[in-house]
């Protein structure tokens, strides 16, 4: 298939996220992604969806999240649409080079999701939609 259109809809709760895993695996099978690329895809989608649920919808269930997968110029692209208030996870991640975290106590247990998204996604794009947000995450097809 040159231009598949796949759609997956879930509700805004963390317990829904595990349903996405087999869907991503099936897409990865279709395009022959490596184990490491599958790891990156699962990681980025989980972090992006968790952001929508926890920050976009503030952990309130009952809101839709729609994912679409498509192939564009040799890249498998996931578009994640929600109807939450504006929330752009593509804001620059906290500086990650200069200073070493001082101690175990100074490490923030949360807040790694966006950093991981930036590190493991092939490409990342945020759009504000008229009634929500769209995050597009791309992975080059091998």
């Amino acid at each position: 298939m040159d231009n598949p259109q796949d759609r997956f809809e879930l509700d805004s709760q963390l317990t829904e996220l595990s349903r996405v895993q087999p869907w991503i695996e099936a897409l990865a099978d279709r395009y022959g992604f490596s184990e490491d690329a599958r790891f990156a895809m699962q990681l980025c989608v989980e972090e992006a969806l968790a952001n929508v649920v926890l920050h976009g919808y503030r952990s309130e269930a009952g809101h839709p999240i729609v994912m679409r997968a498509s192939l564009s110029e040799g890249t498998l692209v996931f578009a994640i649409d929600d109807k939450a208030p504006p929330f752009a996870p593509t804001e620059p991640a906290p500086p990650n080079g200069a200073t070493k975290p001082a101690s175990l106590e100074s490490i923030e247990p949360g807040g790694n999701g966006i950093r991981l998204l930036h590190r493991f996604a092939g490409s990342l794009r945020y759009e504000r939609l008229p009634d929500g947000n769209r995050l597009t995450i791309g992975f080059p097809v091998p």
Partner: protein, 111 residues
């Protein structure tokens, strides 16, 4: 996701995690991890059977490690697979909780 423990010489508790440390996996081990953090002085978290690690899974490691450290104990991570190690490095956890691939070195660092 399963979690089991093993007592080692030197008062070290080795925690063996097995499975995907994603949101679901993290929820499955959090309570047990926190109990272990409350009762162990030296914690060796064995990640060799962990096939996936996300930010929620990182929390399941960092929060217990902070609790152990607060009580004057030490925590080390053992033998993560390469992609799991990448996640630990991308989030800079490796700079605070040491990662070992050699068991003797991990034990020496804890005691």
């Amino acid at each position: 996701m399963t979690i089991s423990t093993e007592s080692m010489d030197g008062g070290i508790t080795r925690v063996l995690l097995d499975g995907r440390l994603d949101i679901q996996g993290a929820a499955a081990v959090d309570l047990r991890m926190n109990v272990l953090a409350g009762s162990s002085k030296f914690l060796l978290i064995d990640l060799s059977k962990v096939s996936f690690l996300g930010s929620m899974g990182l929390r399941s490691i960092i929060i217990p490690a902070q609790a152990v450290s607060r009580r004057g104990g030490k925590v080390a991570l053992f033998s993560p697979v390469p992609m799991v190690e990448e996640v630990l490095k991308a989030s800079r956890v490796d700079e605070i909780i040491p990662i070992f691939h050699d068991l003797d070195a991990a034990v020496a660092a804890l005691c």
